[in-house]
Symmetry: C2
């Protein structure tokens, strides 16, 4: 089993590659729920949705979120009723929000609702919310504290950021299966997701960071920062707000207590060399995922490092076999 | 002010005519909510929706329900998630259900939620649910008791009907404004709706039947039965189950304690003559509404009888003036 910590569009792209190069039923995903919001009275979990759509083949790859080929007539009608429309919920997409909301209203946990939806969509990988408790990412800005989706989607991450906090985290528990998935996995992969608001909320749930420190497999992160800039989104701004340099060194520092291997882009070869001086294993490869081939290639490479880590006294070429061949 | 008791597709057609021949702001509609259902976790009020769509010009006249030009992608996606799809909720239509459900969840009454939605859709007529309490039409059949929508939509009203009851009615109160609208109206019109399951639930709310008996204006019903058959739907079956003949005499009996004028189809001229023998005023006109012109003509005719009733000691021709001219 491989365990993947993920959130955001970078995470979804990485998982899209991964599901194509290894059996999905051997993947457990621990997904950020800090972005979850009540929208039109429905419970929406953007990162769980994206991962569910990726794994069911429904994700719109053009947009990177929502259902491919979706329409937005309900959204348009909501606008005509004077309701907010800044969070773009498609007509097909609404079905998942409706079903999840009904299951939650009936008393099911978010884990249970996620499992029902995954079964219905024939998702074979195991999607776990980081927690069944409500943990809300709050972004403090000069205009006040915003939810992550308000900051990111409604306001296009244009506000300066003072700090980020995870409301409710201290009282939250990891969802059932999360700790075991991390501790017992052959390898734990941290997707190229924003370390502050995609992976940060997961790490803020008491017990998860400790589980990563005692994980039996190697913990391998793919850097979402390439050449001192975020591949997409506000990772750089948010890292700066949290006192982390916007560089692979910043990523290494965010995960320093549990990280075994950092996978950086080949453009960061120099920075990688400097980091290695500090004792961390840093591997460079092509990390930008533009095409389906890029995604699969990155997934294969990461899995080969995972296999090498697993069987560190054996040659990497042999160790790579269970995870498929490596193409670079 | 004119007060209209309505429900079902016959009622919606009648209101569609009425709104075009008199100022909508002078119409108060008391609408059946016995068909209301929880659907996909949302509160759906089919008759309030139809009347709202009629009055905002959004109703699909082809289907007689829902929003014109609507699509059904969410419905399709719900089917793929294994959820029921027998109640056809369109993508645009969903917006109203979402908004109403949110307003109810926030503690608003059905009257208040209806008023908000009407404001947003620039509906000038006053739509009142018959009650803010839950009154549920239950249809007893050999396979068990069904909700009205289960009986009517899901099972195509194919089941024999033993009886009909209105669960919750005895504890219900008329919604704010209902009694006053009935008592003080210049005329109360009963739309050509099913007397058992469209008008019956309204009459089952304590106080409404009494208000009709003491209404200051004339109470005028348009028969939904023509030539001993329902114009559409299961009215005949349901009337038989309630011991009412499927005829204009059955309609007269259903409303006998408060009815001043019964408007029957010209095809029922013979039956009308027999009824007149019992002291009821019965007027015959063309009541089948196939075209927009039919709807307006029926509305004008009914209003002319209302005006005649209002000013019974004056010639009908003069009395008709405030309501527009009569075309037959």
């Amino acid at each position: 089993m491989i365990c993947v910590l993920t959130g955001g569009t970078g995470g979804a792209k990485f998982v899209d590659g991964l599901r194509q190069v290894m059996p999905p039923e051997e993947i457990t995903l621990v997904v950020n729920t800090g972005d979850d919001l009540m929208w039109w009275g429905l419970y929406v979990s953007p990162d769980i949705d994206s991962i569910t759509y990726v794994l069911s083949g429904l994700l719109s790859r053009e947009r990177g979120w929502g259902v491919k080929g979706d329409t937005f007539l309900c959204l348009q009608a909501m606008g005509q009723l004077g309701e907010p429309t800044w969070f773009h919920t498609g007509d097909r997409d609404l079905a998942v929000h409706l079903l999840r909301s009904r299951l939650l209203a009936e008393g099911k946990t978010l884990s249970e609702a996620t499992s029902v939806i995954c079964d219905k969509l024939a998702v074979k990988a195991h999607i776990l919310p980081m927690s069944d408790s409500r943990v809300e990412t709050r972004v403090d800005t000069p205009i006040g504290e915003l939810s992550f989706e308000e900051y990111f989607v409604q306001r296009w991450y244009q506000d300066p950021v003072n700090s980020v906090r995870f409301a409710g985290a201290s009282d939250a528990e990891p969802a059932p299966g999360v700790i075991d998935a991390i501790v017992s996995a052959h390898a734990v992969l941290i997707a190229p997701s924003n370390p502050v608001t995609s992976i940060g909320p997961i790490l803020a749930v008491p017990g998860i960071r400790e589980a990563l420190c005692r994980a039996q497999g190697k913990v391998i992160a793919v850097s979402p920062i390439v050449a001192n800039a975020a591949v997409a989104g506000p990772a750089g701004i948010l890292m700066a707000a949290e006192g982390l340099p916007c560089s692979i060194a910043g990523i290494a520092r965010a995960y320093e207590d549990f990280l075994d291997v950092l996978i950086a882009d080949t453009r960061d070869a120099g920075a990688a060399e400097a980091l290695r001086g500090n004792g961390l294993r840093v591997q460079c490869t092509q990390t930008i995922m533009r095409s389906a081939e890029d995604k699969m290639a990155l997934a294969k490479t990461v899995l080969s490092f995972a296999a090498a880590g697993l069987l560190s006294d054996k040659p990497a070429a042999r160790a790579a076999a269970p995870f498929g061949s490596v193409n670079d």
